[in-house]
Symmetry: C2
Subunit: 101 residues, 2 copies
Amino acid sequence: MEQQAWDALADPTRRQIFELVAKHPSHVQPLADQLPVSRPAVSQHLKVLLQAGLVGAKREGTRQIYFADQRGLAGLRRWMNEFWDEALANYQQEFREDEND
Amino acid sequence: MEQQAWDALADPTRRQIFELVAKHPSHVQPLADQLPVSRPAVSQHLKVLLQAGLVGAKREGTRQIYFADQRGLAGLRRWMNEFWDEALANYQQEFREDEND
DNA sequence: ACTTACGGTAAGTAAATACTTACAGAGAGT
DNA sequence: ACTCTCTGTAAGTATTTACTTACCGTAAGT
């Protein structure tokens, strides 16, 4: 479920698209203009981001406006925060004592 | 830089290893016993996690104890929090108004 | 109606990668 | 010294995937 979000954001190009869209909702073509890849590549990336729930789309005639959606990130955020609090805080000190690197 | 952390955590097996190690520092063999993959696979995953700064290692004779390291996660956490505050909060409402899905 | 712009999908390809088995090294116990 | 256990790496393979070009459908302007 949230595996899709991980896969989606692991790719640098896709993450860049996600950042662009989050800063400013946009169509496909303008996004492709700002990126070193072709327009179909952007479309494919947006499809992945859509299925991961990271972006949403809204039709405007033949175009489509893509925008960021919080819901997709929520899972990762939760995972990360639980992690941060739960496990790391405990076990780290006891090994930091005699680790010198 | 933090691309390594994304790649490392995007893989489900590797993420599982990371979670196991965070909950309880461990050697390689015990980790492999809890996972559906071979021991060398675990070693390779740990190498990736090491290079991403997500785990640390400490020699104990011929064995090696692996433990989670906060530093690797810090980058992702920062990215995600900046994101959450900066962009999403703004642009979402204006599109949520007439989006019905 | 015809053209033009925009965008999604199909087909194909090159590269990345997660896994396996086989091999080699290094420390602990007898 | 010899063996046994634990581990990292090499070599090879099958799958995934990010990208390209080509094609097709759809809405807007004249």
